[in-house]
């Protein structure tokens, strides 16, 4: 990338702010737009709280938690490497889907680092309206091989720096993240290329990534500066982006506007074979972004042209009045100085493929650079208990091996079996037709040993250029339930023109009832794997972690991120507790009633009952009445007319008994069995 090289060099210049928009048309009528904003402030000024172009809100947070270097990424969508070629900035300015944050903090101990990290994430969470505060211990890792400090740090500072890394794969990036992002810019989206940044277009992009990088830069012989670099990359589908904002619905066009392949024999007024991607679309800057550039930002370095476009020189481009074109000598790129007050727009007319001066793809697009590595990760298996992860890594280069660090952070409920880690290599172009493949299992015995705070990576013996030696080094930190996730770093080397399939199995655990999110049946997102491609001769190993990273500057590496995964966990039926309560209540009611009955009642067989007479109140009353009747008869027979007063008493008692009996009857009717 031509402009990339030119834009990364002026880091050392004392200029304080510069911005650049880099446009690159891609095949199938896509357009890559890379916005780059960079401002410097000298370290001494920064420490004196004199921020100038450096955003004060961010600067204060960094000072408070002792952050020496910070990288924040918001990303959405996926880069289609097969169609779009190599990534912008070699992938160093993009993150996995969601939000990714890593920073080097000044801390003496792990506890202090964790504490500062917590403060940092919470502060950034408020600043960027993102759920960064959910990056807790279970989502935080301390990568060993994957990340190197990009800035220049002195030896004594470096010794006390701790790297922490956290990802939120589920975070949906949207306009509420863009607004604070723009507020950090000196021109705040009011002037310059940042006026093009409209949430509607940015988040309608096929792929977009917002990045903030803060690092100290010490040019030789000059004072160290703290640099903040804000980058937005987006791939726009030109056809979709051209739709007016008031009418975004892709209604079918009127039939006569369809671009048809008229060579088809059946072509007629109502039959049209479409040729959508055969010809380049006509587009203009204000069409695809919905607005034009509102003049140059007055604070920007006047030497750097704010808008560049990478197309062959043979392509016609029209601009609005007042802009001056600077064509790069090598071809394939041209830049524009834009007027400071007027609006600016670019118009790229349609390149007709027919007629006298027919154009080809080569006239329209610069050739795409091939990416150093293709990576594709997917889940294997089905069911909710166990599964596998498969990563297909392809080295397209016909003659150069590629070495990289493959870094994965997995949630703790995804328990991987390291002994199932397998690599399978397939050489494809040299052995066309019959692809050799061989199985290489890595020993798992060391997995347990790696479960130590001490970084003791298992290093497989390196056998030079031997192709069987794919995984050179493993750093594995197993998960602890509810405490931390799995961290897996592999240093992998892929020989030229071959494909490596990396697989491992895992088992998922059942969470506690309250640990499930409200949308438990959606599944759980697993963060993207980070692949850091190492330049030759600069292979880091964990032994010289921290100190030996100086040679590994940002110029040396390129990055790649796979897509995220959606892991479905065994999900309980959340109405189950309710059902259980209902069921147990019913069972207890039934059992208790019956059991209590059995306990308090005396059971007698029906034939045994008759000899007793009758049980219950009624029987007793009847018995009493009978006795009374007998008694009364006896009395009457015995006494005759002798004693009168006693008889009266008895009569009274009898009367009472009679009353009682009546009442007893009434009450007892219901109960009698």
């Amino acid at each position: 990338m031509h402009v990339l090289a030119s834009s990364s060099s002026p880091a050392s210049s004392s200029s304080d702010y510069y911005e650049q928009l880099n446009l690159k048309p891609l095949p199938q009528s896509n357009l890559l737009a890379s916005f780059n904003f960079r401002s410097n402030t000298s370290l001494s000024q920064f420490e004196a709280h004199n921020f100038q172009y450096f955003p004060r809100s961010l600067g204060q947070i960094l000072q408070h938690v002792g952050t020496r270097e910070l990288h924040l990424r918001f990303a959405l969508g996926r880069w289609d490497a097969e169609s779009w070629g190599a990534r912008p900035w070699d992938g160093t300015k993009e993150g996995g889907t969601g939000v990714e944050l890593w920073a080097w903090l000044e801390a003496q101990t792990d506890e202090e680092a964790s504490h500062k990290w917590l403060t940092l994430t919470n502060a950034l969470s408020g600043l960027f309206c993102a759920s960064l505060n959910f990056i807790d211990e279970t989502r935080t890792t301390r990568p060993v091989m994957s990340f190197r400090p990009e800035g220049d740090h002195s030896e004594d500072i470096l010794e006390n720096l701790q790297l922490l890394h956290g990802v939120l794969p589920r975070e949906v990036v949207c306009t509420e993240n863009l607004t604070p992002f723009l507020k950090l810019l000196p021109c705040k989206g009011k002037a310059g290329i940042s006026t093009l940044l409209d949430g509607h277009k940015l988040f309608d992009a096929s792929w977009q990534s917002m990045a903030i990088d803060i690092r100290p830069i010490c040019p030789s012989g000059e004072e160290c500066v703290l640099q903040i670099e804000q980058t937005i990359d987006m791939v726009l589908d030109i056809e979709r982006a051209k739709r007016p904002r008031g009418n975004p619905i892709p209604r079918p066009r009127p039939g006569h506007e369809l671009k048809c392949n008229t060579s088809k024999p059946y072509h007629s007024g109502d039959t049209c074979f479409p040729t959508d991607f055969a010809e380049g679309q006509e587009w203009a800057l204000d069409q695809v972004f919905g607005r034009s550039v509102e003049g140059a930002c007055p604070l920007t370095d006047p030497d750097v042209p704010p808008v560049c476009i990478q197309v062959p020189h043979s392509r016609d481009i029209y601009t609005t009045a007042g802009a001056s074109e600077i064509k790069s000598p090598g071809g394939g790129s041209r830049c524009y100085q834009i007027p400071s007050n007027d609006g600016f727009s670019l118009i790229l007319p349609r390149m007709s493929r027919e007629g006298p001066d027919a154009k080809t793809d080569a006239d329209e697009l610069v050739p795409l650079a091939s990416p150093p590595l293709y990576a594709e990760r997917s889940l294997m298996g089905h069911g909710q208990e166990r599964g596998g992860v498969q990563t297909i890594l392809t080295n397209p280069s016909p003659d150069a091996a590629v070495e990289f660090v493959y870094f994965e952070t997995l949630p703790w409920f995804m328990r991987i079996y390291l002994h199932t880690l397998r690599t399978r290599i397939e050489y494809y172009p040299p052995h066309q037709g019959q692809s050799q493949s061989q199985q290489i299992g890595t020993e798992a015995g060391t997995a347990g040993a790696a479960d130590q705070q001490q970084q003791q990576p298992f290093t497989s013996t390196s056998g030079g250029e031997d192709s069987t030696d794919i995984v050179r080094e493993i750093y594995y930190r197993p998960a602890l339930d509810r405490v931390r996730g799995t961290q897996l770093e592999l240093r992998v080397r892929i020989p030229p023109a071959s494909r490596v399939v990396l697989t491992y199995d895992f088992e998922v655990t059942i969470l506690r009832y309250t640990e499930y999110p409200p949308d438990a049946n959606r599944g759980f997102d697993v963060a993207a794997a980070v692949i850091t491609i190492l330049e030759k001769g600069s292979s880091p190993s964990a032994d010289d972690n921290g100190n030996g990273g100086k040679d590994m500057t940002r110029r040396g590496t390129s990055n790649l991120r796979t897509t995220g995964l959606l892991l479905s966990l065994p999900t309980p039926d959340f109405s189950m507790p309710y059902n259980v309560i209902i069921f147990t209540s019913t069972a207890i009611a039934l059992a208790f009633g019956g059991l209590y009955n059995i306990l308090v009642r005396r059971f007698v067989a029906a034939d045994e009952v008759s000899e007793v007479g009758a049980g219950g109140l009624k029987g007793k009353v009847l018995l009493a009445v009978k006795k009374l009747a007998v008694l009364v008869k006896q009395k009457l027979a015995a006494s005759g007319a002798a004693s009168s007063s006693g008889g009266g008493d008895i009569k009274g008692a009898q009367q009472q008994q009679e009353n009682k009996k009546d009442r007893g009857d009434e009450n007892g009717k219901g109960k009698a069995e």
């Binding site: 309608d204 066009r253 072509h267 074979f273 959508d276 294997m380 089905h382 959606l566």
Partner: protein
Amino acid sequence: MPGLLASALSMRRNGSSDRLLRTLPPYVSLLCIVVGVVWLFLLPLDGYSRRTYISENALLPGQVHTYFGGSDQHVFRAYRHEIDALANLTNTEVNDGLETILKGVGLKVGRQNYTYHSAGETYAGENVYALLPAPRGDATEAIVLVAPWRVGSGGERLNRGGLALSLALARYFKRWSLWSKDIVLVFPPDTRTGTQAWVDAYHDAHDPRLVSPLPLKSGALQGAVALDYPQEGDSGRFESVHIVYDGVNGQLPNLDLINSVVNIANGQGQGSTLQRMWKHRGAAYEDRLRTMLRGMVSQGLGHATGAHSAFIPYHVDAVTIQPVSGSNGGRGWHDEMGLGRLVEGVFRSLNNLLEHLHQSFFFYLLLSKDRFVSIGTYLPSAMLVAANFTIMAISLWVRSGYKEVGDVEEVEKKEADTNNNNSTTVGAANGDSKISNSGENGKDTTTATTGTAVTTTTASKKAERHIFLPLGLVVGSHLLGAVPLFIFNHTPSKLLTPVFTVFALANAALPHLVSHYILRSSLFVATRQRQFYRLLKSFSLLLLGMFLSALATLNFSLALLVGLLAAPLTFTPVEPSGSYSLPVKAVFALLLDVLSPPAVVAAAATAWRFFGGAGAGAGQVGVGAVLREAAFGWDVWGLYTPLIVWCVWWPAWLVGSVVVLSSGGGGSGESSGARMGKKKVL
């Protein structure tokens, strides 16, 4: 509860227990079956079924404007011309053509080869599929649109409308930026093998020797819609859509998906039909019952009913949409664009999903497009039928613990004693019998402590249970079920009909052979005892009841079907003589012969030829076709219906027949004359 206790007490006290134990269970079993069947016929009534409703709020079916139409129809016509041009080419050439079109639309294309072997035939093909990535998505979720190249049960019709529509829809979908899930378009060569290979490979459950892996993958599949739209002629107008939803092994998609399709079709003025009920009067009991029964037959057979069926075992909800012309013979006024809008609406609904479809029902019987019965309501039907076996089994087990002194031949008793003393039978049998004996003793003491005499009029005695031999025979017969399973799944399709005939004859003779030459031989002296037959039948029925009640939760219809066909096994006589006369025995033997699995399979095949399988193709008729289909299902789809038939039902039938034929003293030889002849020849 006290009432129950009291009646239990009175049963023990009254001394009528033996009589009740002997006479009651058959009636209870019969009651279970009758109630189960009546229950089933009550389901279509309003009081037992419910109106369908959308349970998942996120779906919002029919709430979006659909814009597919206008000049997209020009594109559709062009694609249909392209499909017509490919019509008579080979699978690979067709896929080349499709790949060119799909790449022209701007999609990524993958291809997959597969080969299946079943019943001596090879089914090979190549799938082509395309991936439309969600513009802002992350390859975590996907929706599938399937358009098989050839549709119909024999694969005889070119799916030209469905294919052209899928291509036009793909081009239309690409213009939208609202997709939150990837859209995968799959173009398998047929409905039977292609999707199965594709879905297996997508979930890494494929056999790598037969099915190649997929070069392109997306995330978790959230739903699938298959289009079956042959569209003869240029207009291809239709009135309503036929929703096919049965999956392999009777698994069903989430009811919300069907409801969404019905709802969206309704919103567009399109009718929807289920289970080939073209003229369904929504409220008519008869139509509801017929829809339900058709659904149950389809579920019970468990075969794939369309390209969508392969998805359902992987918990991917899927349906096939077939446009059908009007019920009155005339064509409707909806054209292919209307179908496209229906698919668009369904996809927009699926796109809305935040979680995997989980809210609504997975177990249901549909009565019409807007009424259904849920599992809680219909399950008792099959469970009662399954329970009848268990009840009889328990009663036989209890009775086998007693000897009825009144009519037991003394000779037998002596023989049993000597047998015990000599212990020529296996030692384990003695061990088992001792354990059961001690259990009996324990029971004795408890009854004694309750203080009532068990001495009763019929004078039954406690007896040891010799469970080893009957248990071994039952287990052995179930293992023997593997033999027909193996034979019918590995015989070349041409030989299936003769092999089946031979098997059917052998099968008819098998119970006779077993009962006469094995059980009556001097090897098994114990078999002369009535207890042996009771235990034999008890174990067999117990297993059958267990299997069927477990199966009822998985495949209700199959469990009910097998349960009803095996119902006579409950009532077969076990008495050596006495209450059952020879004609009764002969009737039972004949009934069992008629209801034997091979006879039922043959009858079903004949019925299929005459009534069902409309347009199934004249070439595929008879038992051979049914068996080939079953073998194909077993090999390709993982169909377990053959396993149930041969390893659950057939062993139960075999044991039941042996029990019938062996009972009735030595006089069983006179039963079922026609069979006897064959047996004597053998």
